[in-house]
């Protein structure tokens, strides 16, 4: 009996979520298959690549990132360059300076910067908080307000602060809400249920299921992504059908392989090459398991991952 290819698309689909406005707006999700299973059915929207920039600038980054931004002196100019980066689909502004244990900039100051960035670029914008749940609870509410009309992605609402962020970003000001949980399908689902009960529409939520660098407990990430897509598509689980966004660079630039200097580890070779490989390998693994968007930092990583997505589509 000869081999016959039978397409096996699912009946259920991932929800389609649009971010940004105008010609550059992007759509995440919408597929009825596992990632890149084009033989089952075409994915209507290719996974997207975001470029992470920090409001603390780029002076601590590796040489390739510094060279890319060159003599840029402010965050708004940096965002413009990031938006024009080859392979970039959207820009992610990380408001690190709001961290109360760091620079501790005021909420208003940070929100003003977010507004200035949003006005300066036409690429879709995502805003990341400072990882302090309490401060983010205030900060992202304010940011949602000043970005009204921009259809931005607010990263992220967590269990600790989902009420304020969900209500402002998702309901009052028409942004998209990132729902962040810690590498566990049940926690992810619970947060989506909570947000929905609050009144946030499922169609305005994007999930961040948590992340880890390759080699650092990544098996939990892979299995959480796999299981989430399987439940969303195979079991038509409405509370897990939101598209998935996975920040990569925030994890990979913190591991030894990416930060050990060449002086300390001469046999490992160039630190920059290691940082790029760690970033692209982790991103590619996430995309292979179902991330609908990844967030990266290095221009070479953005170009590589974007090329890979095009080749696989």
């Amino acid at each position: 009996m000869p081999f016959k290819l039978t397409p096996q698309p699912f009946k259920a689909a991932i929800k389609e979520v649009e971010v940004g406005c105008g010609a550059k707006a992007i759509k995440l999700g919408g597929e009825k298959t596992f990632p890149f299973y084009s033989f089952d059915a075409e994915m209507p929207n290719a996974p997207k690549v975001g470029v992470e920039i920090s409001d603390l600038g780029f002076e601590n980054e590796v040489a390739g990132i510094k060279d890319f931004y060159g003599d840029v002196t402010n965050v708004v100019e940096m965002a413009k360059k990031a938006a024009a980066m080859e392979g970039a689909d959207f820009v992610v502004l990380r408001l690190e300076s709001a961290d109360p244990n760091g620079v501790n900039k005021s909420v208003d100051e940070c929100a003003e910067l977010a507004k200035a960035v949003a006005d300066a670029i036409d690429a879709p914008l995502a805003i990341m908080g400072c990882k302090n749940d309490e401060k983010d609870g205030e900060l992202l509410v304010k940011v949602s307000e000043v970005l009204e009309g921009k259809n931005a992605m607010i990263l992220s609402a967590k269990e600790a602060n989902y009420k304020t962020i969900g209500a402002s970003a998702g309901m009052a000001y028409g942004q998209k809400v990132g729902a962040e949980s810690a590498v566990d399908i049940n926690l992810a689902k619970q947060l989506n249920v909570l947000l929905t009960q609050l009144g946030v529409k499922g169609e305005t939520v994007v999930m961040n299921l948590g992340t880890a660098a390759a080699g650092y407990g990544y098996e939990y990430v892979a299995s959480t992504l796999d299981r989430t897509k399987a439940a969303a598509l195979g079991q038509n689980d409405d509370m897990l059908q939101m598209p998935i966004i996975t920040p990569i660079s925030t994890e990979t630039y913190g591991v030894k392989e990416a930060i050990a200097s060449e002086d300390d580890m001469p046999e490992w070779g160039s630190q920059e090459t290691r940082a790029i490989d760690m970033e692209v390998v982790t991103a590619a693994a996430c995309l292979a398991s179902g991330s609908n968007a990844v967030i990266l930092r290095h221009p070479a990583s953005v170009a590589t991952v974007s090329t890979m997505i095009k080749e696989l589509m």
């Binding site: 000869p2 081999f3 080699g215 650092y216 299995s223 490992w268 070779g269 490989d277 991952v305």
Partner: protein, 444 residues
């Protein structure tokens, strides 16, 4: 058709002799039904029962053994498509591509440089893919000989019968793969591979042609195969890899129940970063042998870490070896810090300690590979286990410093530890690893 455990049980002798390694015939039957063991493990099956069962209960994907001696590797044998369904059993192997146009000595030397240990696993390029490019049988055999001298197992990418014979003459004892069969030459190549006793790589432009060729090879008695997904394009290679594995495991079509070869170096030539990205994709989605143009340390660090994660058994935690791990150039006078042997804990804690810049000795005791609180709750991390570790590893003789920082989450152990280790100064550390940098700096 797959049989259920009960159907298999009816055919067993029901003696519960345990000779198969399972406690009862019922337990054995259940394992056979899941594809975890093969029916021939039972020495008491009748011939008829065996014949009836072996075809129906054969695992959906064959396990192909390549290499020899210490360099023996297993490919395939998977029973599930996703690691969370059960476990993935045969990690993918990496090969570096070598052709007559390369500076063979330099390339092989660069390849052997990547060789290190990560959580008890040796990380190195297991295979060399020696590609025949029409240089003639003698020249090819000489190149193969050079590659074989590294001790690594070879993949002979060669569809030329004479060159293949010459190459196998110099390396067949080392269990190479002869990757050279296609729909037009498979009979001749299969005869060469079978005579040398090596696995045969098969390729074809379409899945239909590949399927027919594999079926013909199986009919001729060769079931020692590896399927090459070809180099038409990245998309085509990915589709083939997924469809072959899905046909075997989900649709139970055993004709495609073989491991795969993906030549990433060929579909992303000259682009090392793209090759790394694709290697990650094929690690998750069904590549068994991944051929790269080169394997730099940078690629290896990320890819081997990923592979180690994906191929861990979900039922067995990743553990690091108990012992003393000096950090930031610590010596016998440096402060001691202790935590559990769960690999993730170790990596996070050692990473933060390194960032602190403070020299310290990290003492890892055997906690069954559990995290701090889990190990404590299970009795694997207690004042007793730490005291025993300090005694057994003769820490007192090796380190003069008598300060020991314990995880903040088990602060409750302080009193008992002071009683068990009277000459030590027990200090309660932080509850989270991220706080360690500040803690260590302040402590200093």
């Amino acid at each position: 058709m797959a049989l259920t455990g009960i159907q298999i049980f009816k055919l067993t002798p029901k003696k519960n002799c345990k000779e198969c390694g399972s406690p009862t015939c019922m337990a054995f039957s259940m394992k056979v039904a899941q594809g975890a063991v093969t029916i021939d493990k039972c020495p008491h099956m009748s011939e008829e029962a065996l014949a009836q069962l072996s075809e129906a209960t054969a695992p959906p994907m064959k396990t192909i053994t390549i290499g020899a001696g210490d360099e023996e590797h297993k490919l395939g044998g998977e029973t599930v498509l996703f690691r969370h369904e059960k476990t993935l059993v045969s990690k993918n192997l990496y090969a570096v591509n070598l052709t007559a146009a390369d500076d063979a000595d330099a390339k092989l030397a660069a390849m052997t440089k990547v060789d290190y240990d990560r959580i008890g696993e040796r990380m190195y390029v297991e295979l060399v893919n020696v590609k025949y490019t029409g240089e003639g049988a003698d020249a090819y055999a000489a190149l193969v000989q050079k590659a074989a001298a590294t001790g690594r197992t070879l993949v002979l990418e060669c569809a030329d019968a004479d060159a293949a014979k010459a190459a196998l003459a110099v390396c067949k004892d080392k269990g190479p793969v002869l990757n050279g069969a296609n729909p037009s030459n498979y009979e001749a190549m299969s005869a060469i591979a079978t005579e040398a006793g090596v696995a045969l790589g098969v390729t074809a432009d379409t899945l239909e042609a590949l399927y027919d060729t594999v079926a013909a090879l199986e009919k001729a008695g060769n079931k020692n195969l590896v399927l090459d997904v070809g180099t038409a394009s990245i998309k085509d290679a990915f589709s083939k890899a997924v469809l072959i594995r899905r046909a075997a495991l989900k649709d139970e079509d055993r004709t495609f129940g073989y491991p795969s070869i993906v030549n990433i170096g060929a579909i992303a030539a000259g682009k090392p970063e793209l090759q790394a990205a694709l290697a990650a994709v094929f690690t998750l989605k069904y590549g068994s042998i991944l051929v790269m143009e080169d394997m730099s340390y940078a690629q290896a660090l990320a890819l081997y870490g990923l592979r180690q994660n994906i191929y861990t058994d979900p039922q067995k935690p990743m553990k690091v070896e108990p012992g003393i791990y000096p950090i930031n150039g610590a010596d016998e006078n440096s402060v001691c810090v202790t935590t559990v042997d769960f690999a993730l804990t170790y990596f996070v804690v050692s990473g933060e300690l390194e960032r602190s810049g403070v020299p310290c000795n990290l003492l890892i005791s055997d906690a069954g590979g559990m995290s701090v609180l889990t190990a404590w709750a299970a009795g694997k991390l207690s004042a007793g286990t730490i005291a025993k570790f300090i005694e057994e590893h003769e820490i007192a003789n090796k380190i003069k410093n008598r300060t020991l920082i314990i995880p903040g989450k088990v602060a409750v152990l302080k009193g008992e530890m002071e009683a068990k280790l009277p000459d030590w100064n027990i200090v309660v550390g932080t509850t989270e690893a991220v706080q360690l940098v500040k803690f260590m700096k302040d402590y200093k």
